[in-house]
Symmetry: C2
Subunit: 138 residues, 2 copies
DNA sequence: TTTAATCCCAACTAATTTACTCGGATTTCG
DNA sequence: CGAAATCCGAGTAAATTAGTTGGGATTAAA
């Protein structure tokens, strides 16, 4: 019941960008160093975020990455879903083709769990986390 | 962000036992057939539940498995934790040794998520799910 | 007391996923 | 032009998943 490092690293990278939103493009190398993540690996993850329209890239010298929207307009759920797929504890909810569904007493709890997870992740923005972190450190 | 089949199968087996609580031992073969799960694989899972004290076994002919407590005294969280480990979306919460912890803005959301997941799974018993399923089918 | 039903246990394995690495091509600023 | 960046596809070692295989031990019932 764990997120893979893709989701974890991806969120940290997004938060790194959120922290620097409005200050021009942030090069991958800088993110990788601050977050202590393999640069090449992070490149693949951020590419997925770019393809999903959550970050924008600027190629060439002085280039880097920028969040596609303001940090208060991007939820954690969006980041996680791009990198980990739908936020659902079991496949049979996402797939919706489980033939045991009508007799499966377990299904109800997975639905409840999925709803709770989506509520938490969908109602928290990158800006929320940056603000909370700043508050804690002060 | 998915449970493995261990957690899913394990919960289904536990629910199968819950449905027959008070009717004597239920043989593994019967559970495996009803739930369409490999008998030998399920055997390994239920062995973990037994070692954790959640089910009791009766060996020999006419033997089988019985829930160690009444279905309304066993939560889904207990079953899942035995088979999948602590209910936490990232390791750094369970391990409590992440050196980035003081600067990690991501940590807050994982804590919130873990709390929500534990709340949902910890407040639902096997009896709750059996009852809800019966209600839906009627 | 035999026999059949059951659980118990350990080892093995194929497929998939994870978490990367490697090597280069392309773009853009100064 | 040259350095700083992103872009892209392929390769890979280790771990995990989801089982399978094969036998041994226990017990109720005939």
């Amino acid at each position: 019941m764990r997120l893979s490092t893709k989701g974890q690293y991806g969120l940290r990278a997004a938060l790194d960008l959120a922290d620097r939103y409005g200050q021009g493009p942030v090069p991958l190398k800088a993110i990788a160093e601050r977050e202590e993540i393999s640069e090449h690996y992070l490149e693949q993850l951020i590419a997925e975020l770019r393809k999903a329209g959550l970050v924008i890239s600027q190629r060439g010298a002085q280039g880097g990455y920028i969040l596609a929207r303001a940090p208060d307009k991007i939820t954690v759920a969006e980041i996680v879903e791009v990198l980990e797929g739908p936020i659902a504890p079991v496949d049979c909810l996402a797939e919706d083709n489980c033939k045991r569904s009508p007799v499966c007493a377990a299904q109800a709890i997975w639905k409840k769990l999925a709803a709770a997870m989506n509520q938490v992740l969908g109602s928290t923005t990158l800006a929320d986390l940056i603000a909370e972190n700043k508050r804690l450190k002060s």
